[in-house]
Symmetry: C2
Subunit: 329 residues, 2 copies
DNA sequence: GTGCATAGCGCAATCGTATGCGCGGAGCGA
DNA sequence: TCGCTCCGCGCATACGATTGCGCTATGCAC
């Protein structure tokens, strides 16, 4: 059985409230020096550890923040790993713990929403699709939420500059004189993807008549072969400059090219978005956009803490990205 | 303000205890059908969500399990990502949530230990070095702990069959007739590494006089160049069969080989351990051992739940691994 | 009219902590 | 001696739930 404040009080013939005040350093409550010493010494000796549940219940504050993501973790999801690393850093700074909410199979948005507001956490980080029913519920509730990487309607967010990143990429492609362009998007909905797509379209439109072709293709993230086939099926001059919405899709495309014997960048030029480093690659070869995901998460923690503290926080914090040239275009 | 059971009781002119019993489906407590209906309807209408802190405090059970890892998350740590994914699956099945304990900078083992036993979680998953002071404290405490992937003294663990995996690898190398061997270990201490090293040494010893050389090198996980230099510095017949303690180190070595123009597998043969899939690679080229890390985590959750339930659980659960041939040896 | 069972519910303690307020005694000045 | 201040601490309640036990009213048999 864990030792409680009452145990200490009983041992010393004091009241539990006095023990509590001393251990919390409540200076308004005057206690003799000897009593203080005895309490501290006894707490030490009995290895007293306050019950966090009771404290949270009473204080109305848990020092726990949650993370809800619509996607599960796996070794190929570099994005979540980076975000998680950043959250770890941020939480450590603010002495918070992180509660990963595990979505039960068959759980409805209602269930999930209820599970998130059961009092165990002070705030929540969210990464999901904008049309996730959870988003509307959360933004209508009193819950403190910060969206990560992808802006969500009605919620503050910390993001990377998707538009600028894509603008820079296409600008670089234009400078190289490509005439056929394509954008590879995922089959699911994500706000940042649409931003990148819009920026891509703006830049392509600015090309005017000099662009021979420009298409947006939706492909499964783990296999870009269909996309590649569709591109090559249409006759026209090569190469085609294919901008992928993220690095993982770009690597899918690169693999598809290798498997079909398509030369990069002579026939297909490829760009990514994220800028993950990986020892597994010979060198940085993928031309991509470097996104500070760790920093995104760190800043998100700062913001959430301020929000919990009652401050107003900006609707969107956009972090700058950098072009990372490579030899795939 | 969240609505409490007392609010429902007040609204219906009932007592809070009756409300609680109905909502918990306590059949021993007899209540008229109308009252039951009214309570359920009102709870629904007011969107009542029981306060998890109060429930946990009273019930002595939180339905939260913790994860403590000595390493931080990042995109290159495939291992943690896989483990985390498995924990997600397992926790979802048992309707648990996962509390990531963020180690604060400057926190001592004492601090960490105390933070882990503050009543917020029912049990804990652990991945750290065997000489981490935390391990001794935890195994001496009443806390329910399951070690992940790496056995820890005094604690139950779920692991992969390190010995068998390494045995299979070296057996395959022997069959190919290599005469010089090396083992690349990390500079930090981890039980599974030592198991792999011991298995490697046993197999090499079994070669007897036919082995021209066999060395164990400790290299930083993110850069194997020094190791490579040390190997090549010593004259002798090539190739050298280098078994790396994990995939990441193997990729480090492969990169070092590329950078120095060393041919694989003609001059240096490379094997890994983990078997992570990655779209970024052209094909499965690294010869390695496939470890079911997701399954390790899933089973760890099952075990921890049984342990929390009062059962005795096996000291070590070892999951089988499979040899994944490649073209790096 | 009495006894007894049962249906239908409430009282109150409990989990461990935080905190507003009050209370007895000592010391001191007038 | 009276009144005031300040020291040192405890009482009691609250946070929001769970749960053992007991209480009242009704119905029914006798």
């Amino acid at each position: 059985m864990p030792v409680t404040a009452k145990d200490i009080a009983r041992e010393l013939g004091l009241s539990q409230s006095t023990v509590s005040r001393i251990l919390n350093g409540d200076m308004r409550h005057r206690v003799s020096v000897q009593t203080r010493e005895r309490i501290l010494e006894t707490a030490q000796r009995l290895a007293y550890q306050p019950n966090a549940l009771a404290q949270s219940l009473r204080r109305g504050r848990t020092n726990v923040v949650g993370l809800y993501t619509s996607h599960r973790y796996d070794a190929r999801n570099d994005f979540l790993a980076e975000i998680l690393g950043g959250l770890q850093i941020g939480c450590a700074r603010h002495r918070l713990d992180l509660l990963l909410h595990c979505g039960y199979a068959g759980r409805t948005a209602d269930d999930t929403f209820n599970a998130l507001r059961d009092g165990r956490m002070d705030g929540l980080f969210l990464h999901t699709a904008p049309d996730d029913p959870l988003v509307a519920k959360l933004s209508a509730s009193a819950m403190h939420v910060v969206a990560l990487a992808d802006p969500l309607p009605g919620l503050p967010a910390v993001t990377c500059d998707d538009s600028d990143g894509m603008r820079q990429i296409v600008a670089a492609l234009r400078k190289q004189g490509y005439r056929r362009y394509a954008f590879l998007a995922p089959q699911f909905m994500l706000a940042s993807v649409e931003r990148r797509r819009e920026a891509w379209e703006r830049e392509i439109d600015a090309l005017g008549k000099s662009a021979e072709e420009s298409r947006v293709l939706r492909v499964p993230i783990e296999d870009a072969t269909v996309g590649l086939e569709a591109l090559l099926a249409k006759p026209g001059t090569l190469p085609i400059a294919v901008s992928c919405w993220n690095d993982r899709t770009a690597y899918s495309l690169l693999r598809a090219c290798r498997e079909r014997g398509v030369r990069v960048p002579e026939e297909i030029a490829v760009t990514g978005f994220d800028g993950f480093l990986d020892d597994k690659l010979p060198e940085r070869q993928l031309a991509t956009v470097g996104c500070p995901w760790v920093e995104v998460a760190v800043q998100a923690v700062d913001l959430l803490v301020r929000r919990i503290g009652g401050e107003n926080i900006p609707a969107e914090t956009i972090l700058p990205v950098t072009l990372l040239p490579g030899d795939t275009c």
